[in-house]
C-alpha cells in the first residue's frame, strides 16, 4: 500500500458527519445512478429477458395444427427428450461444434500468433488484422453460397483437379456433405477466435519471453510453457463465441449439407414452419440449457475475468 493511500484513508475517517444538505445530495446522486442504469435495463428487459420468458412459458403450452392453447404440460419436453431423432441431432450438432472448435482454435491461434509475434510494426499488424475482417464485409449467407461454385460437382476445385488429370471423376463429398458444413463454419467463425487470442497475445510482456529464453527454453518450450498458458483467457473467450455460434447455427447446415444433415436449430426451424411453436420452444429451452452448461464448463476451466 502506498503512503498516499493511507493518507487519504485517515483523512476520510477524520471528517465530521456531513451536514444535512450533503446527505440529500448523496441520496440524489444515488437516484441519479439508478436513472443512468434504466435505459440498458429496459432494453435488456424487453428484448432479452421478456422473449426468453415467453419461450419458457410457451414451451409448456398445448398446440394442434390450428392454434396454441395456454396450459401447463410437460408433453413438449417429454416428446423432445424422448425422441431418438433429438438425441441424434444433438450428437450431430456436437460433432460439428467439436470439429469447428478444434479447427478454428488451431487456425485462429496460428494467425493470432503470427500477427502478434512476427509482424513487427503496429501499422502492419492493424493492416493485416483488417484483412482478416474482409470476409465480414458481406453477409453470412453470401459467404456461404459463394462456396457452392467452388466446391460443386462442376465447381472450381473439381474441374481443376480433373483438368490436371489428378482425379478421373468429380469428388462427390466436396459439397452437400459434413465436410462442406465444417469448412463453411470454420470460414465463418475463425475470426471470432483470432480476435480475442490476438488481444491476449499482444498483452504478454515481451520480457517474459526473454526470461524464458534466458532460462534455456527453446521455441516450442516457450510456446507451451509461457505463451499458451497466458493466452488461455483469449482462447476461452474465442471458444465461447465459436461454440455458441455453431450450436445455434441452422442456415450453414441447411445450405452446405443440402438438407442431408440436421442441427438442433434446424430442427427447431422445421418445427416452427409446421406451426409447432410449443415444441420448438421446448427445444429452444433445452438448447439454451446445454449451451449455458458448455459456457459454464469453459469458464470453469479458464478464468477470463482479468481479460474483461
Amino acid at each position: 500500500m502506498t503512503p498516499a493511500m493511507t493518507d487519504d484513508e485517515t483523512q476520510g475517517m477524520a471528517y465530521p458527519k456531513p451536514p444535512i444538505t450533503a446527505r440529500i445530495g448523496k441520496v440524489a446522486s444515488r437516484i441519479a445512478s439508478y436513472l443512468q442504469a434504466v435505459p440498458l435495463a429496459l432494453i435488456l428487459g424487453f428484448f432479452f429477458l421478456l422473449p426468453i420468458l415467453m419461450i419458457a412459458v410457451v414451451s409448456f403450452w398445448d398446440y394442434d395444427f390450428a392454434g396454441l392453447y395456454p396450459d401447463f404440460l410437460t408433453m413438449n419436453y417429454t416428446d423432445t427428450l424422448g425422441s431418438w431423432v433429438t438425441w441424434k441431432t444433438y450428437l450431430n450438432t456436437l460433432k460439428y461444434t467439436a470439429l469447428v472448435w478444434g479447427l478454428t482454435l488451431l487456425i485462429g491461434f496460428w494467425v493470432a500468433y503470427f500477427l502478434a509475434f512476427h509482424i513487427r510494426t503496429t501499422t502492419m499488424q492493424m493492416v493485416l488484422f483488417l484483412v482478416c475482417t474482409v470476409p465480414f464485409l458481406t453477409s453470412n449467407i453470401i459467404r456461404m453460397i459463394s462456396w457452392i461454385p467452388v466446391l460443386g460437382r462442376n465447381g472450381l476445385v473439381n474441374t481443376t483437379l480433373i483438368e490436371m488429370g489428378i482425379i478421373p471423376s468429380p469428388i462427390e463429398w466436396l459439397l452437400y456433405s459434413d465436410f462442406a458444413v465444417v469448412l463453411a463454419m470454420v470460414h465463418l467463425n475463425t475470426l471470432f477466435m483470432v480476435t480475442p487470442i490476438f488481444n491476449t497475445l499482444m498483452r504478454i510482456d515481451r520480457s517474459l519471453i526473454e526470461a524464458a529464453r534466458d532460462a534455456g527454453a527453446n521455441g516450442w518450450q516457450i510456446l507451451w510453457n509461457v505463451i499458451i498458458p497466458l493466452a488461455k483467457p483469449g482462447i476461452a473467450i474465442g471458444s465461447i463465441f465459436v461454440v455458441t455460434l455453431v450450436m445455434a447455427d441452422f442456415s450453414t447446415v441447411q445450405v452446405m449439407s443440402g438438407g442431408q444433415s440436421a442441427s438442433v436449430a434446424l430442427m427447431m426451424k422445421n418445427q416452427m414452419s409446421l406451426l409447432q411453436y410449443p415444441a420448438a420452444a421446448a427445444n429452444a429451452v433445452v438448447l439454451l440449457i446445454v449451451v449455458l452448461l458448455m459456457v459454464a464448463a469453459i469458464l470453469r476451466v479458464v478464468d477470463i475475468r482479468k481479460e474483461l
Binding site: T2, S207, L208, A211, A212, D214, G216, N225
Partner: protein
C-alpha cells in the same frame, strides 16, 4: 557455491540500422567484482548488458566469459543469468514453478526441481510465500524471487537490468544492501545497469560510465569521484564544477587556462599545447565562500540560488562562464556567514581541489 568468471568485452559494437548504439567498446570486468554500468538513458548501457546476456546480437567484436568466447552462444549456454527490469516473473506460475522454470526446461524431474527451487526460495527468505503467484507479492519480494530464479542456474555472472528502478526509495536502499551482501556471499560477478549515481557509488567495485555509446571512464568509485576522466563524467556525477577554456601556458606540472569571460585558472597537470581547448573540474564541496589568495584559484560571482539540505547548503553561483557553478557548504559554514540570492560572492579553492579533465576521441 559458484565459480566466478571474468568478463572481457573486446571492441564490441551494436548497430541498429543506421544508428550506432554502442561504439566499439572494450572493457575487462574482473571475476567476482560488482560492476555498475552508469549513464543517462540511451547511452548504450542496457544494449551492452543485453549483448553480454545474449539477448541482443553483437554487431562486431567479441564477448568472452572466463575462457570461452560467448559471442554466438544462446543466453542459456553462456553461464550468465539475467534479472529483468520489471523482474519478468511468469504471472501464471507460483513462486516454486517460477524459480524451477529453467530446471523444467532442462528436463529435471518435477520432485527434484521443486525441492531445489524451494531451497533457493529459502535462501532468499521467500519460503513462506512459495505457493503464491507473483502478483500477490510486493516489489521487493518479487525482486527476491527474480534473484532466486536467476541464481538457480548457478551462473558465473549475474546481469541486472535496472533492478531497483521499480522500488520505492526506502526499499531501494534496503534491496541495494541485500544485493551487495548477496554478491559478497556468492562471490560471482555482478553486472548492474543503473542511471543512479548514488546506487552505483554504493554498490560498485568498478563503475563504468557510458555516454553516447562510448565508455567515458571505467574505474573504482573513489577514482571516479576524485579524478573524473572527462567533463561528461564530472558533470554526470555532479560532484565537480566544470570550467571550459583554452590553455594559456603550462609548465612545472601546472596548466593555466583562460575561460571566454577572461578569468584565468590554474590546475595541476602535464604540459599542454597553448590554445588547446581544456576542461577542469572543481570539487563542489571544497569551494569556500572566501576571497582567493591566488586569483587563479577562485573568482567573483553572483548567487542565483540557495538550497538548504540539512547538513549542507547548496549555493549556485553565476560567474567565470558558468551559470550553475555549485558550492556545497556545510551548514555551520553557511550560517556563520549566510548569503542570499543576488549577493556578490568571492569563491576560492585549493590547487589540489581542481582536476584536469580529459577528452575522449570521438
Amino acid at each position: 557455491m559458484s565459480k566466478a568468471a571474468e568478463i572481457d568485452i573486446v571492441s564490441v559494437s551494436k548497430v541498429y540500422g543506421s544508428t550506432t548504439a554502442v561504439h566499439s567498446i572494450s572493457l575487462k570486468i574482473p571475476s567476482g567484482s560488482y560492476c555498475c554500468f552508469l549513464g543517462p538513458s540511451g547511452c548504450g548501457k542496457t544494449s551492452t548488458l543485453r549483448m553480454i546476456a545474449g539477448h541482443e546480437s553483437i554487431s562486431s567484436g567479441d564477448v568472452r566469459l572466463g575462457n570461452i568466447v560467448v559471442t554466438d552462444l544462446p543466453p542459456a549456454k553462456r553461464g550468465t543469468a539475467m534479472m529483468f527490469q520489471s523482474y519478468a516473473l511468469f504471472p501464471h506460475l507460483d513462486l516454486i514453478d517460477n524459480v524451477a522454470f529453467s530446471l523444467k526446461m532442462k528436463g529435471v524431474e518435477k520432485e527434484e526441481r521443486r525441492a531445489k527451487a524451494l531451497e533457493m526460495l529459502k535462501l532468499m527468505q521467500m519460503e513462506p510465500y512459495a505457493t503464491r503467484r507473483p502478483a500477490q507479492l510486493s516489489g521487493g519480494q518479487q525482486q527476491r524471487v527474480a534473484l532466486a530464479r536467476a541464481l538457480i542456474t548457478d551462473p558465473e555472472a549475474l546481469l541486472l537490468d535496472e533492478p531497483l528502478s521499480a522500488l520505492d526509495p526506502f526499499l531501494k536502499i534496503r534491496m541495494r544492501a541485500e544485493l551487495k551482501k548477496l554478491q559478497k556471499s556468492l562471490g560471482i560477478t555482478f553486472v548492474h545497469v543503473t542511471h543512479s549515481q548514488e546506487e552505483a557509488m554504493a554498490l560498485a567495485d568498478i563503475i563504468v560510465i557510458m555516454n553516447d555509446g562510448r565508455i567515458e571512464q571505467a574505474a573504482h568509485p573513489r577514482e571516479v569521484f576524485e579524478r573524473p576522466a572527462t567533463a561528461f563524467v564530472a558533470r554526470f556525477m555532479g560532484d565537480h564544477n566544470v570550467l571550459t577554456g583554452r590553455v594559456v601556458e603550462s609548465g612545472d606540472g601546472k596548466v593555466t587556462l583562460e575561460v571566454p569571460e577572461g578569468q584565468t585558472f590554474t590546475v595541476a597537470g602535464p604540459d599542454q599545447e597553448p590554445g588547446a581547448p581544456i576542461d577542469i573540474g572543481v570539487r563542489t564541496d571544497r569551494v569556500r565562500l572566501a576571497a582567493a589568495s591566488d586569483k587563479t584559484l577562485g573568482f567573483n560571482g553572483v548567487v542565483s540560488n540557495v538550497e538548504y539540505r540539512g547538513a549542507s547548503v547548496k549555493i549556485t553561483v553565476i560567474g567565470a562562464g558558468s551559470d550553475d557553478f555549485t558550492v556545497i557548504a556545510t551548514d555551520a559554514d553557511y550560517f556563520e556567514k549566510p548569503v542570499s540570492v543576488g549577493d556578490a560572492v568571492s569563491l576560492s579553492w585549493g590547487l589540489e581541489d581542481a582536476v584536469l579533465l580529459g577528452r575522449i576521441a570521438a
